[in-house]
Structure formats: structure tokens, C-alpha cells
């Protein structure tokens, strides 16, 4: 009872000081308000709306939008097309990330020294990264062309194949073709990140290793690669998140075909939302995608948290 009597005025006093603080710092709220209003509408309300949609049968061409509970989620989990899209996305992820990162690391190691043309090489390898994805997809679609593509031209010239191959319309070759194009597009990014990582390794470690008689392979395996672990983790996490949302290449090069073999999760969501107008179902799919990415996004946030030791 006694504590209560003491606490009540203290609480009131605290409330008063909060109000005083708010009045004194009014301009801070003024600084925040324009962005906060937009953030509230287009992020917070949008997210809440997204969950709301996922529990409704919501078509923009029908006015009746009933609550259906978990039905959209149940439908999704038994939808063979979604299963196929998850497999395709996994295939794309596992096919493209290790290749991209290995190529990026090798080039970064080669460029991490004072060699002639370093800046030029770096710019060349980085060029595909800044190229609009739409452009890269169109150009590679032309390269892969089954009748007159230059890939077929050179493969036939060196005698590897005897007939032109329809890369993008062959169910077994379409995804590898998309993967190769994506590796080409992204390896410059891995290279730049690895170069930054390499520059943060103190030279004294290598000097000490040399004094101890370690050769360059040992230095690579015992110093460079272990010390690049945070960089590698960063790349894995960002690449997985990126490749789970792969869309543009698919839209332009294959439209998800042939026979759904390159239909990825994002493309499937797009189709359901904006071609079939099943906004509720597509929202449920988005929520499922978010859950699938959950572990990676949490990791990503940890890497970025100040003082977590993550360097990038």
C-alpha cells in the first residue's frame, strides 16, 4: 500500500516530464513526420493489409471478397505448381550462388595485388552488375537463340554440338541457361565485396606466416579464407535473399516455361496477383516466401547490427 502511494505521484511526475520532453523536442517530431506518414501508409499499413488479404478470397475483378480463414494457405501447401516453383527456386539458388561466389573470390584474389590493369579488370567484371537486368536478359536471350544464337554458332564451330540447341525452350536446359546468365550478371558484385574483405586482412598476418615458412597455398587456406568468413556469410545471406526473389530474367527469357520448369516463387506470385488477380492467394504466397526467407533475413539483420562484429 505504501509503495503504491509513493509510486502514483512518481508516475504522474514522470508523465509530466515526458510531456515536457516532447514539447521541448517538438522539432524532432517535425523532422520525422513526413517520412513517418509515408512509412505508416506504404510499409506498416501495407504489411497489415498483406496479412489481411491472405485470409480473404480477394479478386480485384469481383466485389465479393469473403473471409476464408486459412484456406489460401491450405491451398498453397497442396498446390503442385507452388511445389514446382519452390524446387525451381531452390535449383536456381543452389546452382547460381556457389558458382558466383567462387568466381568472384578467384577474381578478387587475382586482383588484390598491384598488377597492371587492376582498375580496368575490376571495371570490366563489374560492368554486368550495373547493366539493367532487362538489358542483360534480352541480350542473353539473343545469345541463347535456338536458330541464330552465337552460343550455338561457336559450339557448332568447335564441334561440340552438331545441331543448334534451343537452350531456353528445352525443359532440362532452360534453368542452367538462366543460371549461367545470372552468374555472369552477379559475379562482379561478389568480387567487389571480396576485394573489400581482402583489404581488411592485416598484412602482418601474412608476414608472420612467411616468417614461419608457410607457402602461399597454406596462407590462402589458413589465413585468407578463414578471415573472409564474415564476408562469405554476408554474400551467402544477401545472395539467397536475392535469388529467392529472382524475377526479371524469368519474365523476359522464359516466362516461367518450358512446362513450368523455370517458374520461380516470385514469378508464380506475380502470375497469381497480376495475371489471375488472385490477390488473397498471392498474399498468402508472399507470407510463405517471407517465412522461408526468415532465417536469412534475421541473419542479415544481425550482420548489420552495429557492434555485432560483422564488418560489412
Amino acid at each position: 500500500m505504501a509503495t503504491h502511494e509513493v509510486a502514483a505521484p512518481a508516475r504522474a511526475r514522470r508523465r509530466r516530464t515526458v510531456r515536457q520532453d516532447m514539447r521541448r523536442e517538438w522539432s524532432a517530431y517535425a523532422f520525422l513526420s513526413p517520412g513517418l506518414i509515408l512509412f505508416t501508409i506504404f510499409t506498416l499499413a501495407a504489411l497489415a493489409f498483406s496479412f489481411y488479404l491472405s485470409f480473404h478470397s480477394w479478386s480485384i475483378i469481383e466485389s465479393y471478397k469473403p473471409f476464408v480463414g486459412m484456406q489460401n494457405y491450405k491451398d498453397a501447401l497442396s498446390d503442385p505448381d507452388l511445389g514446382q516453383a519452390v524446387i525451381n527456386t531452390g535449383y536456381f539458388t543452389i546452382g547460381s550462388i556457389p558458382l558466383t561466389m567462387a568466381a568472384g573470390l578467384i577474381i578478387a584474389l587475382m586482383l588484390n595485388q598491384q598488377i597492371w590493369g587492376r582498375a580496368i579488370f575490376r571495371a570490366i567484371f563489374y560492368l554486368p552488375v550495373i547493366t539493367p537486368m532487362v538489358v542483360s536478359s534480352i541480350v542473353w536471350k539473343f545469345i541463347y537463340n535456338g536458330d541464330y544464337g552465337i552460343l550455338n554458332y561457336y559450339l557448332q564451330n568447335i564441334g561440340l554440338v552438331h545441331h543448334p540447341i534451343s537452350w531456353l525452350s528445352d525443359p532440362n536446359l532452360a534453368m542452367p541457361a538462366v543460371i549461367i546468365m545470372s552468374v555472369w550478371q552477379n559475379l562482379g558484385f561478389a568480387m567487389v565485396i571480396y576485394l573489400a574483405g581482402l583489404q581488411s586482412i592485416p598484412q602482418s598476418y601474412y608476414e608472420a606466416a612467411r616468417v614461419d615458412g608457410a607457402n602461399s597455398v597454406q596462407q590462402l587456406l589458413r589465413i585468407t579464407i578463414p578471415l573472409l568468413a564474415p564476408t562469405t556469410l554476408f554474400l551467402v545471406v544477401t545472395s539467397v535473399i536475392g535469388s529467392f526473389q529472382v524475377f526479371t530474367q524469368i519474365y523476359i527469357m522464359t516466362n516461367g516455361g518450358p512446362v513450368g520448369r523455370t517458374n520461380t516463387i516470385m514469378y508464380f506470385i506475380y502470375q497469381n496477383a497480376f495475371q489471375f488477380f488472385k490477390m488473397g492467394y498471392a498474399s498468402a504466397l508472399s507470407v510463405l516466401l517471407m517465412l522461408m526467407l526468415g532465417v536469412f533475413t534475421i541473419l542479415q539483420l544481425r550482420i548489420y547490427r552495429p557492434g555485432s562484429g560483422g564488418d560489412l
Partner: protein, 316 residues
């Protein structure tokens, strides 16, 4: 991200330490020469693979339709023509508009995003107001959600913005902000990640500097604009280049929002052009060259910022 400033300076600084230079001066062995040659062979081969698609794009864009379909192929056009470029600007008639739209959207979004993000970052970094930590936590929490989560609801929100695009006060009857520049720009001008990055940078600015200005009677906005923002140039520049590149290249959001050809961005226009002209490859290559040149110019001018920006904002 322990120290953004430190990392930026590292990315910008010359990478060769004195010790490495000293190491280079040692006599080169025969094995060293062989390794150097192997290194160059791999690098040059890789560079050729990287550049070949661009070279073929440029080459084909100056060729006649018939020539690229006749084997052997010619990297140097046999009968060079600029017809693909002229017909691109002439017949479709929209590519000039698309270029303008892409520039407008990318520039306006970048400028607005930088301004609003910095304002909020300043409040979060340098002001002590009630609710600060949970508000900032709220922004950080939304980083957990992939960006695509908001596209479907935002499409519907834009459709129902009141008083726009034929909508009534309740937001129905028309198409709202869909198919408009506002629809493309407004939902994108606040970036939780941008706020986070800029705030991290601002935290390192000493408070004494701001207090001195306050004693002199400077307003908070004046302190923000004349003292804090100029000190944030590195993080703002890196962020600007990155945001510009992102919105110039963006395809998914324009695809969803825009529906009339005069509102397309270059990426969207080109992509839909592919659908309509499946086999007009030389024409498509000319369009691709046109879409690549602006980013190429920006890249060559700001290369340093690109590299530091990518290692800083790689997450987007």
C-alpha cells in the same frame, strides 16, 4: 558495419600497403613469371567472357536483320547501318519518353529519399525525444520483411488513393495513383535501410559541434542542413549512386504500376517491346544499347562511389 566512416575510407583508400610494395621489389623467380602469366590468361579470358555479350549487342545493333542470321557471323558489321536506332526513335515513338521517364523517376526518387531519410536519421541520431528507441526499433524490424511483401497491398492502396485518377473521396471509381509517376515514386521515398545507414554515420559526428551551433542560436533545421548534411557527404553520395542505379534498373514495380506506354520507364518499355517484337533482334539490341549508355556514363563518372556504395549498401 562497426564504423561506416572507417569502412568508407578503407574502400576509398589505396589498397596497397607499404609492406606489399616492399614485397614486390624482391627479385622475381621463374615460377613467379609463370604464375603471373597464368593469372593474366585467366583474367583476360574472364574479361572477354564478361564483355562478349556487350560487344555482340553493340555489333548486332549496327547490322541489318538479314546479316545477323547468316553464318558465319560478323563481329565487325559487314554493311553497317544506323537504321535500328533511327527506327527505334521513329516508329515506336516512345523511347525518348521512356528515357525521360526513367531519368525523372530515378532522380526524383533518389533526391526525395535522401532528403527524407536524412531528416529522420538526424532525429534518430542526434535528438533525445520520448519514443525514439521504439520508433527506431520499428523501422529496423521492417528490415526483416522482404521488399516484395508490400507490392500487392501497395498496388491496392495506390488504386484507392482518394481524389486522384478519377477516384471519389472514398477512393473508389477510378485508378488512383496507378499508372502515374506519383504511384511509382511516393511508396519508394522512405527506406528503412537508408535511414539506418545514414544514422550510423551521423552518430559519429561530435555533439559539441551541434551544441556550439545551438548556443549561437541556429535552428535545428539550419544545424541539420548546414552542419550535419555536409559532413555526411560520403554516405549520401554512396547512397545516392546506389539508389539511382536501383530505380533506373528497377523493373518489377514499374511493371505493376504503369499501364500506358507514355508512362513506361526504359526498362519496362524495352521488356514489353520484346514481347511485341519477338524476332526483331537488331532493333532490340539498339534499344538495349540506348538503355545501357546512361548507367555506363554514371558508372564511369562515379566509379569510386559505386564500389564503396556497393560494399556499404550491398543489402538492397
Amino acid at each position: 558495419m562497426a564504423s561506416t566512416g572507417q569502412m568508407l575510407s578503407r574502400a576509398a583508400a589505396s589498397p596497397h600497403s607499404a609492406s606489399r610494395a616492399a614485397h614486390r621489389r624482391k627479385p622475381v623467380s621463374a615460377l613467379g613469371v609463370v604464375l603471373l602469366i597464368i593469372r593474366y590468361v585467366i583474367l583476360i579470358a574472364g574479361a572477354i567472357v564478361c564483355l562478349a555479350p556487350f560487344a555482340w549487342m553493340v555489333s548486332a545493333s549496327f547490322q541489318h536483320e538479314g546479316d545477323i542470321f547468316s553464318w558465319p557471323i560478323h563481329w565487325i558489321p559487314k554493311n553497317p547501318t544506323i537504321q535500328n536506332y533511327t527506327s527505334f526513335f521513329g516508329s515506336g515513338g516512345h523511347i525518348g519518353t521512356w528515357l525521360f521517364n526513367s531519368t525523372l523517376v530515378a532522380v526524383v526518387t533518389t533526391v526525395l529519399q535522401l532528403f527524407l531519410d536524412s531528416l529522420m536519421a538526424y532525429a534518430f541520431a542526434k535528438r533525445r525525444f520520448p519514443g525514439r528507441s521504439w520508433l527506431f526499433g520499428l523501422f529496423l524490424a521492417t528490415l526483416l520483411v522482404p521488399g516484395q511483401m508490400t507490392t500487392i497491398p501497395n498496388y491496392l492502396i495506390l488504386k484507392h488513393i482518394p481524389f486522384f485518377g478519377g477516384n471519389n473521396a472514398l477512393g473508389s471509381g477510378g485508378h488512383g495513383w496507378l499508372d502515374s509517376y506519383a504511384g511509382l515514386i511516393v511508396p519508394a521515398v522512405v527506406s528503412a535501410f537508408g535511414i539506418f545507414l545514414i544514422r550510423q554515420f551521423m552518430v559519429s559526428i561530435p555533439d559539441e559541434l551541434l551544441d556550439a551551433a545551438r548556443v549561437e542560436g541556429a535552428s535545428e533545421f539550419r544545424i541539420f542542413w548546414s552542419i550535419v548534411l555536409p559532413l555526411c557527404k560520403p554516405v549520401l553520395a554512396a547512397n545516392a549512386i546506389f539508389t539511382f542505379g536501383f530505380f533506373w534498373n528497377d523493373f518489377y514495380w514499374p511493371l505493376i504500376v504503369m499501364s500506358s506506354p507514355q508512362h513506361y520507364t526504359l526498362s519496362l518499355g524495352l521488356a514489353l517491346f520484346v514481347g511485341a517484337h519477338q524476332t526483331a533482334w537488331t532493333l532490340l539490341m539498339a534499344g538495349s544499347v540506348i538503355a545501357t549508355i546512361p548507367v555506363l556514363i554514371v558508372f564511369l563518372i562515379f566509379q569510386r562511389y559505386f564500389v564503396s556504395g556497393i560494399s556499404m549498401t550491398g543489402m538492397k
